[in-house]
Symmetry: C2
Subunit: 716 residues, 2 copies
């Protein structure tokens, strides 16, 4: 093993008090950088050991004294009370009922009250200001319609920084609750800038400031009842950026005022999974501009002290938007993403920033994100690490990053030597893959896939958070499968389609539930969109619809692309219509029937589509020739080796690509990447047993045997 594969591109979490362990593992894993973590500090012995030093800063969080002096500098959010039924013409509502009072505190200041709203939810209209009053935490509504439901939308302070709150409640921390400052507050902002300068001054050994992350956390609303603790979580929503100051600035800039209801949305809030309103889009752009401007000031300070500024792409990342138009203007030197999945690797790798770093899981914590044990009784961190590596490795084969690393408490690895060995092996494999990329990109088949949804490139790869947080959405399964396939993948919006984005695309994928942001909802009301995609397929393109693609009510078909797919969903109006009988045909690719759904109410529109899979007499997968192109439909898609293989074979078939051109293996458990510059084929196994198969190559089939989870490099 050459030394170059044993060292470099690895960030180790150091831990004071475990200096020897730190340095031992730094050597074993080939670390070139040592970092601190949330809740840890490095000792001088570590800092002075010759490694690069990352220091973690959560800029808005470490200032409880300032927050105590300036409570109005704390961050806020809108909340909505639970609906209350009026039994007569007056009603008393306690807005905070049901919310966690350690996280939230009513903002009933003169500044905030004008933004409060009372709604008659039954009639879906606002109650005029003169019909309600507020005093001492209680709203009194008069002139109610009896038996209607009423809510109060109100501003409140967020008095516990959410990641600190999570760590306390998960890991039973007992320390003081950390508060968070809003950089929009002038005094707070001035204070934060000065604080950062001081910090840089006082930490000369730090080579990289690791911003964790910027200003505004993703939305995480806790309830008071332990039976429903987490009332709302959305990794990509902007609710926690709001304040009277922000609302006033918005109105000044955009010429119209936002109201509480723009955020509250009938109590549903505005989840990323749903198409945004025009107001929400404006507000997001407004916040993005603010965050970019303020982040640039911080980065400039850091640069002035000769340090680099890396930013962690999670937690309080909201408004930063690495795939937004302003990200490059900030001047970050690196982007760090914690990864469980392949799509998260691509998410990081595709951002426009000099250095991309992955923080692997498991985090060195007693329990994982889902609450299951990792470095504690019953945990298997080595298995966990390998499983995540299996997801990430195939994505790394398509697109490399610059660095990998870990986070957490290093001492927890004691007693887990298998884990330490697995990390060592992963680091070596990472460096070999990275080297291949450095000589030239891997071969990508002539199959340009565009994933089409509401957000387009802004939400490239991810939906809203980690896989296990979004696994009810079929698109995350598709994205995860795509993240390791030898095809070109991009993410486009409906606006992009109408701006000509299909001119260099072979396959369009639309996958979601009708009405959601991924399927598209009201976007499909637009006939020009439907016509453009119809043209695209008729002239030879592929439209792959999954779940309820292009679903929109009120038209002659529910799937607006039914004319291309040859299949549609009956939402009730066609219950008296006959159904085409069909035979299930043999597919020109492997069908992973278990990975499809078992949706009801699907019917063939004109009986011409070929049914490739059916359940209980209902077609679940169809293929329909349309002009020179194809419409392909899947009722669902659960990611796994077999279904990923199905997707790849389907794409190759649709794009007329022979298996050998794609270096396809004989088994779904073996995936490949061919690096032409090095004439090197990488074959990776996800099998738990040794596996023997063939790789189809342009120069003939090649037999291969791989040990469990092996990564093998072959020179062709």
């Amino acid at each position: 093993m050459e030394q170059k594969y044993r060292q470099g591109g690895f960030t180790l979490p150091g831990e004071a008090g475990y200096e020897q362990l730190t340095l031992e593992l730094a050597k074993k894993w080939g670390a070139d950088v040592i970092r601190d973590s949330d809740g840890t500090r490095l000792s001088d012995e570590i800092v002075e050991a010759g490694y690069g030093i990352y220091s973690t800063i959560c800029i808005i969080r470490q200032h409880n004294a300032f927050a105590a002096e300036h409570p109005d500098a704390q961050q806020q959010t809108f909340l909505c009370s639970s609906p209350v039924v009026a039994e007569g013409d007056t009603l008393v509502i306690h807005p905070m009922d049901g919310y966690f009072d350690e996280q939230f505190q009513l903002n009933d200041s003169a500044d905030a009250l004008p933004f409060w709203q009372v709604y008659d939810r039954t009639a879906d209209c606002e109650v005029p200001r003169n019909r309600w009053s507020y005093a001492e935490g209680v709203v009194m509504v008069t002139g109610c319609e009896p038996w209607h439901e009423y809510t109060v939308s109100f501003l409140c302070w967020r008095i516990w920084e959410e990641i600190n709150m999570y760590n306390h409640t998960t890991n039973h921390w007992q320390s003081e609750h950390l508060r968070q400052l809003d950089p929009r507050h002038p005094a707070a902002w001035e204070y934060l800038c000065r604080w950062l300068e001081d910090w840089c001054e006082q930490n000369p050994a730090t080579t990289v400031v690791r911003l964790t992350s910027l200003f505004y956390n993703f939305v995480w609303i806790f309830g008071s009842d332990m039976r429903n603790r987490s009332l709302f979580t959305d990794w990509a929503s902007y609710d926690f950026t709001v304040s009277p100051a922000a609302l006033r600035a918005f109105e000044k800039q955009y010429g119209y005022a936002l109201t509480a209801e723009d955020f509250i949305n009938r109590g549903k809030l505005q989840a990323t999974h749903m198409p945004p309103t025009a107001h929400k889009r404006d507000y997001m752009a407004f916040i993005q501009a603010f965050v970019a401007e303020k982040a640039k000031v911080l980065v400039d300070i850091i640069h002035r002290y000769g340090k680099k500024a890396y930013v962690f792409y999670d937690d309080s990342w909201v408004g930063m938007e690495p795939y937004g138009p302003l990200f490059e203007t900030v001047g970050f030197d690196g982007l760090i993403k914690c990864v469980f999945s392949g799509y998260e690797c691509r998410l990081c790798a595709g951002a426009k920033v000099p250095t991309h770093e992955l923080r692997f899981h498991p985090y060195l914590f007693p329990v994982g994100l889902g609450g299951l044990p990792t470095f504690s009784e019953g945990g298997h961190p080595d298995r966990d690490a390998l499983q995540y590596w299996q997801h990430v490795r195939r994505a790394l084969l398509r697109q490399s990053v610059d660095r990998i690393g870990l986070g957490g408490y290093l001492h927890l690895t004691q007693g887990y030597p298998e884990f330490c060995d697995v990390i060592e092996r992963m680091a070596i494999e990472f460096r070999r893959i990275k080297e291949l990329h450095s000589h030239g990109a891997p071969l990508t088949c002539p199959c340009r896939v565009a994933v089409l949804h509401t957000w387009g490139s802004l939400r490239s790869w991810t939906l809203s958070g980690h896989f296990h947080e979004t696994d009810k959405h079929v698109l995350i399964h598709i994205n995860e499968a795509l993240s390791g396939l030898p095809v070109e993948v991009r993410f486009i919006s409906f606006e992009d389609v109408q701006s000509g984005a299909l001119s260099d695309v072979d396959v369009v994928i639309n996958a979601g539930r009708a009405g959601d942001a991924w399927s598209g909802g009201a976007a499909w009301e637009n006939p020009a969109l439907v016509a453009e995609l119809t043209r695209f397929v008729h002239e030879g393109g592929i439209f792959l619809g999954v779940g309820e693609p292009s679903g929109a009510p009120g038209h002659h078909t529910f799937f607006r692309m039914a004319q291309v797919l040859g299949i549609d969903k009956d939402t009730g109006a066609r219950v008296c219509h006959g159904r085409w009988q069909f035979d299930v045909a043999e597919a020109p690719f492997t069908v992973a029937a278990d990975a499809l759904g078992d949706a009801a109410d699907l019917y063939l529109t004109d009986g011409k589509a070929t049914v490739l899979c059916a359940k209980d007499g209902i077609p679940q997968m169809t293929m329909n020739q349309f002009g020179k192109g194809l419409g392909i439909y899947m009722s669902g898609f659960q990611v796994g080796a077999e279904s990923t293989r199905m997707l790849l074979e389907m794409l190759l078939y649709a794009c007329h690509i022979a298996p050998e051109e794609a270096y396809l293996s004989g088994s779904p458990l073996v995936e490949t990447a061919y690096f032409p510059a090095d004439r090197t084929l990488v074959a990776v196994s996800s099998a738990e047993q040794e596996i023997s198969t063939v790789i189809h190559t342009p120069s003939g089939d090649r037999a291969i045997t791989l040990s469990p989870m092996e990564t093998k490099l072959l020179t062709l």
Copy 2:
């Protein structure tokens, strides 16, 4: 056995050539009346045997010579071509493509063409008349938007009466296809009246003219491709009543014109299962008035000849509406309903007409309605008859009819002696039940149930046709269960609720799929409706929601009655919301978990509802105290002995009725009815084995043993 139970109230289908069999079975089954059937004639020997004689007339069907001379007197319908994608700016559409040309023939007369429409279905707008032309069966559209889909809505003649078409295609009849005349055509109407007078003159032995039925068949559209033969079937739609003359008369009377699109509805047609438009409601009223007026003329002719006029409540019944406002004005002497199910018995029994008659199944045909054998190899007509009797008997215990009978080819019963014995037994049981009713109504518990849906009383009991045609709709399961329960049942509309209909109701049931006529769709947009039902429950009423009750998008909850039910369905917007944890509680009644659905995306709104059944962690049945009343939710309901029992126990619990007050048995397989006038308890078993159980009565439990399917009368 007293003779009074052996004879009377029975209509036997006679058959020429089988005179001895006819008279033998007439004796065995106690017939007092002999009828002919569709396709049979009685011989003089039968006619003169001293029985009452029913003669079947399908008034619009037996006139092919007249139809040949007056092709413009035939009936019509609107159809819509399959959508065609425009590849350029002109498009050729063959409207009839895909339709069965033995049923339909284009009406391209000068009278009809003005009612044709061409639609751009992609843009959802009509193509102006000057952009399309018609010639020789083909429509040419110019100025198309490329890649949009276009349809032609057109009038056509119906050249094969649909029941005759069904009999031909099912039973391989080879005779001439029968045509049907439109009574709106003046010459046809004059001819039909004269024809009926002549017929009455020539058939002096006939005591009852059995009209089968009136003028317009339910909608049944056949396709040309055997893979999708039945394109559309709806027992209660009015499409087959249309003609240019009807449309012009409608416009004159209502002051606005209907268009093809009012019927075609984007190619979906207007199924009874969906809420009607205001135009459809007007058109139905218009047709009902026409049908009542014309039917009265026929009935008056029949009465002038000293005969009675019974009408068959099926086939060409459209517009007759026994639960409509005009039915009584026609003057029918009897209503005959063919029955598979209990609700069909109640449907017949509840109509305002002197005589109610049930025609039992199986029909004496080689195959049944579903195409399975009955009186042919593999058939078990005795078992079928018993199964239907099991459904009908419990409904008869609640509300009696006057007569029963059979239909079809009597000779087919030869070789099926068990069937003949079963019918004999059923006839005896029917007469005993009828006698009990004649002495006084059975005891009904103080539980007044109102089934709430779009159609209200107009669609009492039925949805649209037989059970097996509508069994995807949860409400037909509810109705079937209710048809034999000792509670009062009525059917109310949303308008009724707002007119005070809840003043004497204990339980409101709303059961359906969101958007359909049974759940209610847009009716739930009305806050006054929601408020009135909320008041009703808060003051002590019961709201039982099944499936997607009160479902309507665009509000703070999807179930508009969620505040009462304590449960709601997430349609996507709440995917980031937390879910209340819950324990499954023991219910105060038997829960038939298998009969419930396994719906996803249900969530407790405020965590207060009691969960009585859950599947995969999702609540499927809940009960929620709301004020003095209760909201009860079931995700589904599949009718059966266990679920019917659950429904009864639930109603008794909710209305505070003790088991003995309802004469509840100890087993779901034994149901009861108590007739106070005769102090007689009827216990019926649906068990296939002998069963011993108890009946709870106000005077104590009573042990009872019933043989399979037994009907037992006990004097208390």
